[in-house]
Assembly symmetry: C2
Homo-oligomer: 253 residues x 2
């Protein structure tokens, strides 16, 4: 059986207070895609974040001394830098045009994942959108709602599109994951020669997110979610935090 990835269409523009689970359920039912076990619904962080009202008016922020210094180094708006620093536990790298931080969730990403696209034209330069408050909690909550509605055991991944070390181009990443083995430890399974695999932890939820983001498109409104069907796994669920390489073991930190 092939794996199929279906974008969920016609999800309305999300506003603060909107019920993302209800929007996903409606979209799945419109598409006649009642989820089944081993189905995974992938949701762009952007709509989760908007539903949580994670907008910040830049004018409301007073840049700290650190933000002002970092704004000088990077050439960014000091108020945007302030917003980034408030989401960060550590500045990992900074240069002109770029700030890479670690977020509270341990994600290493540019601008703490703060997004300025897909805000209204009037918002540009005025307000920004932060990542969801707790993407893992959002994934857990969406899964509970979907499971209850469809009487199933459905996987949910909250995705973001991110840049990478060594590689150009963004790919989808799992920043929240419920009901799936985010990190799938396949060590101990035998390879074809009968030898046990030695070092095969699979970044399963990240790969599913990368696949789904292909159909969700970059302008992640209208198609901010996808259903991935036909996957199979033999491993217990693990949250997205399982994908975070501990800083102490990371040679690039």
């Amino acid at each position: 059986m092939p794996v199929t990835i279906t974008a969920l269409e016609d999800i309305p523009f999300v506003k603060p207070g909107d019920d993302v689970a209800a929007l996903l359920i409606a979209a799945l039912e419109r598409a006649e895609l009642a989820p089944r076990p081993f189905d995974v619904v992938v949701v762009a962080q952007k709509i989760v974040s908007k539903s949580q009202g994670r907008f910040v008016d830049l004018a409301s922020l007073t840049p700290s001394e650190e933000a002002i210094e970092l704004a000088e180094v990077t050439g960014k708006d000091p108020r945007l830098v302030e917003a980034i620093l408030r989401e960060a536990t550590e500045v990992v790298r900074a240069k002109r045009g770029l700030i890479i931080v670690e977020t509270r969730d341990g994600l290493v990403m540019a601008n703490a994942g703060i997004d300025q696209s897909n805000l209204s034209a009037a918002d540009h330069g005025r307000r920004v959108l932060l990542l969801p408050e707790d993407a893992q909690a959002s994934a857990d909550e969406l899964k509970a709602r979907l499971d209850a509605h469809f009487d199933g055991a459905i996987g949910v991944i909250v995705s973001d599109s991110v840049g990478r070390a060594f590689r150009l181009g963004t790919v989808g990443l799992a920043i929240g994951a419920a009901g799936v083995p985010s990190l799938w430890d396949r060590r101990g399974e035998a390879d074809l020669s009968g030898r046990r695999l030695e070092a095969t932890d699979v970044g399963f939820a990240d790969a599913v997110a990368a696949a789904a983001v292909l159909v969700m498109g970059e302008a992640a409104e209208g198609r901010p979610a996808a259903l991935v069907r036909g996957l199979d796994w033999k491993a217990p669920p693990r949250p997205a935090s399982a994908l975070v390489r501990p800083k102490s073991e990371d040679m690039f930190r």
Copy 2:
């Protein structure tokens, strides 16, 4: 239309000199999946490499002084380290149990992508398998053969499963890519608010490889290839080298 990812089944164990294009054509025909435009065939580097006879007998290698030193630091077999160094242009990081190098293709990866799984039990510790000689050339050649046979314009990606900075778990990566926009520059497209996207270079071929590797499995024999159908792109083809972040622009080098 959903994107579908179909593993190509029953591809025989590949030996040096085997014709990978013929094996793929046979597998596609068995599955009644004659490729069409915008279809992408993803092939595990391992079978390309085996067809090229990229095995190295460790006993045939005399470790250099550098290899011996690096073997001490990392605890690895000095002959394996010698094999890694011969594939590398630079040692990027090394610590106990781990050597990360840059390959001739600009890939930053552990052990220069040298693989010891899926070799026969007798081979273990005796010989290793290098990456394909030139994965991009292999992708180009496979595409030419598939295009000629199916009278189409088919994309081909040569994939590998690799570890990453900041994240645990391997994901598929495109180390060769023909007929697809490996890096898809979407800047200039408008987002939903009508604002032009500012910074959206998509790592398209990497995401397709990540998706395909999900169905190919880690023990990449028997199912060492997949057909991805239903993608769409509006960008000229670019080789896998377009995904390599130039060292001078990489803050983690």
